[in-house]
Symmetry: C2
Subunit: 386 residues, 2 copies
């Protein structure tokens, strides 16, 4: 087992009818009464979450920042940062899915940072977020796991870039996870969420045998659960058992548990982020496009784990690595997620080369769990994804 450090101080409040506890959880961080709520395009006003949260916050002075878009934009978020710098708040409460929560992590960190926040995102030497305003989340979309980790992905569409940030200041103080929100979601978003959780798990599993037998079994537990409940929650999003299992799997898939002591890859995400930046394809769908082809290109690296996965998850026998890749693709397709790049855009012919060049420009010579996936191989993976 590899050495590891595990730390996750976010408090999760999971279940129905819990929002009345929001004030007591805020009080654990601050006695202050001025709260900024952040949200996206306004779906929370239609599904009742906004009203429920505002009712819980009736003793607070609430300021609002709305309009955080999918793939949250640096320029948008900087407006919230300026608003807070001009008129400070004591706490920020993100109400939304991964984009709103990621955006809020940037807002609370940048609001406490004196330099140019873009320098942190580009990892300019010596530039680091160290402090943040305390913040919590009310999750409305199970998918990214952002509600229980410290990472965030921020887009800059002017530069066609997606950048990641992290650090201990990025952990929410608390997150409310109420699975009844699932029934208010478009099926497309539910399907994306299932694939996102599945792929977060595979990125931390489909490497080489880790010697951390338990972590492999936990990863397999998430995969098996998603396969079991995925079709059910799509068929009936009001099925509480299915919805609550989806929500908890999505959180557990990226809260630090799975990576303890194992080798992880994340190249599917790195390529996927470029596809979103170039073509605006939903994050989860980029992962479904790339992963099967990446596993084919790096088959020898991942063969042993692909076989374990095929046997334990799909009940296959023998040397079933290729069939396991096929089953993965089939599972995504069964959720209504198309897995070829050409299904999403006609304008993709130059994409493989652009992605190779971007990786080369950044000096990413070797990716993947064995540090041997080259930009040329990334180009090939994208070529295969048409």
């Amino acid at each position: 087992m590899n050495n590891f450090e595990y730390y996750n101080p976010t408090k999760v409040i999971f279940g129905k009818d819990t929002y009345d506890q929001i004030p007591s959880k805020i009080k654990e961080s601050t006695a202050g009464k001025r709260v900024m709520i952040t949200y996206g395009g306004g779906s929370i006003k239609k599904n009742g979450v906004y009203d429920a949260v505002m009712s819980a916050l009736k003793d607070y002075e609430v300021v609002e920042f709305s309009g955080i878009e999918a793939n949250p934009e640096y320029d948008t978020l900087m407006k919230a940062v300026e608003q807070i710098k001009e008129n400070p708040v004591d706490f920020v409460l993100a109400i939304g899915g991964g984009s709103v929560i990621d955006g809020t992590k940037f807002i609370v960190s940048a609001a406490k940072y004196d330099g140019n926040p873009w320098d942190v995102l580009t990892q300019k030497k010596g530039c680091k977020f160290e402090y943040a305003l305390p913040f919590g989340t009310v999750l409305t979309l199970p998918a990214t796991g952002s509600e229980m980790n410290s990472g965030a992905v921020i887009s800059n569409s002017r530069l066609k870039e997606k950048r990641t940030m992290g650090g201990p200041q990025g952990f929410p103080k608390f997150s409310f996870l109420d699975p009844t929100v699932v029934k208010t979601l478009p099926k497309k978003q539910i399907a994306n969420g299932i694939v996102d959780a599945y792929m977060h798990t595979l990125e931390q599993y489909m490497t080489y045998p880790s010697n951390n037998l338990l972590q492999e079994r936990i990863a397999e537990g998430i995969l098996a659960t998603l396969i079991e409940i995925g079709p059910k929650v799509l068929e009936d999003p009001a099925d509480y058992k299915a919805a609550s299992n989806l929500m908890w799997c999505a959180t557990m898939a990226l809260n630090g548990t799975l990576r303890a002591g194992v080798a992880y890859d994340w190249t599917t995400h790195m390529i996927g982020h470029e596809l979103t930046a170039l073509h605006g394809i939903d994050h989860a769908r980029t992962l479904a496009i790339i992963a099967p082809n990446l596993y084919k290109v790096k088959f020898e690296n991942k063969k042993e784990k692909l076989i374990q996965y095929g046997q334990r998850i799909f009940g296959l026998e023998g040397s079933c690595g290729e069939e396991a890749i096929h089953r993965t693709k089939t599972f995504f397709e069964s959720l209504g997620i198309k897995t070829n790049l050409s299904d999403y855009t006609d304008d993709y012919k130059s994409t493989p080369k652009i992605i190779r060049e971007r990786f080369e420009e950044r000096g990413w010579e070797a990716m993947g769990e064995r540090n041997d996936l080259t930009p040329i191989e990334a180009e090939k993976i994208v070529e295969m994804s048409f």
Copy 2:
């Protein structure tokens, strides 16, 4: 899925050659330089852990408190509390297994408590530990999970009592888990640790189907891993893969993960604590004695889960509940753990009645996940365990 709250802020540093990070982790809690180390009978001086930790603490003023016994004694621990009250320290570092860590949780809490700490342990109305000195742990024995939770069990042999305590102040700030200590342990302690972790898992699993499909699979992952590596680590405690999996399973079995959203029982522990208090039997062994009989007495309650367990863990088929109980007993016996009370003491004839009376005196009319296990049934379970 049941509503739940999950919170665990303990930082785990897992692996080999990590103790040089102890000072940097202490600094995250205090700039103070006066540290009390707590330990047991001195095995840490033989296995090298004492020297390694003292070397890491070379820039600190270290005071020592040793002699914390298995089933840590209230009277012993109060000496450490008095020592701290007379001459305060900035941080306490527990070096040991569950007993030393549990005892240290009491010490750091009682040192910050103005009333009579015994009142807290007896749950006298209005008496509660709210604050504690910051403390960390260096784990030397994988078993109880105390290194990553906030609970503790404290004994008072004058009163033949074991009492539990908990609360957020009880979380260690950090815990160092180095699996190389396993090779220094007596095999009896290793076997106890395996059973302890296994039974912590079963207490949070062997109830009724929870609708939390993932948590059930995580529990099954711990059980399967312990069955796989238990015999290996007993045969060769220097097998790092086996030892590290045992250590991590023991932590994961009682760090709050398994109980998220599920029904739990803990009656085996409640009866087991009495057996330890009355006859001095090792904690883990009391669990191995009681659990199979408890599952027989409450068979109808647990039948559905016993079948799932038998099928998924032992590969049995059909209605395999009774066989699953038998296999559990056989697994414990295969580790050298005897499972009959009469294997441990001749003086047990009055035990069932005493335990029933103790439960009745405390007003524990109904225990177990369905609140229907009566003191009379507890008496019967103990009778069956001869």
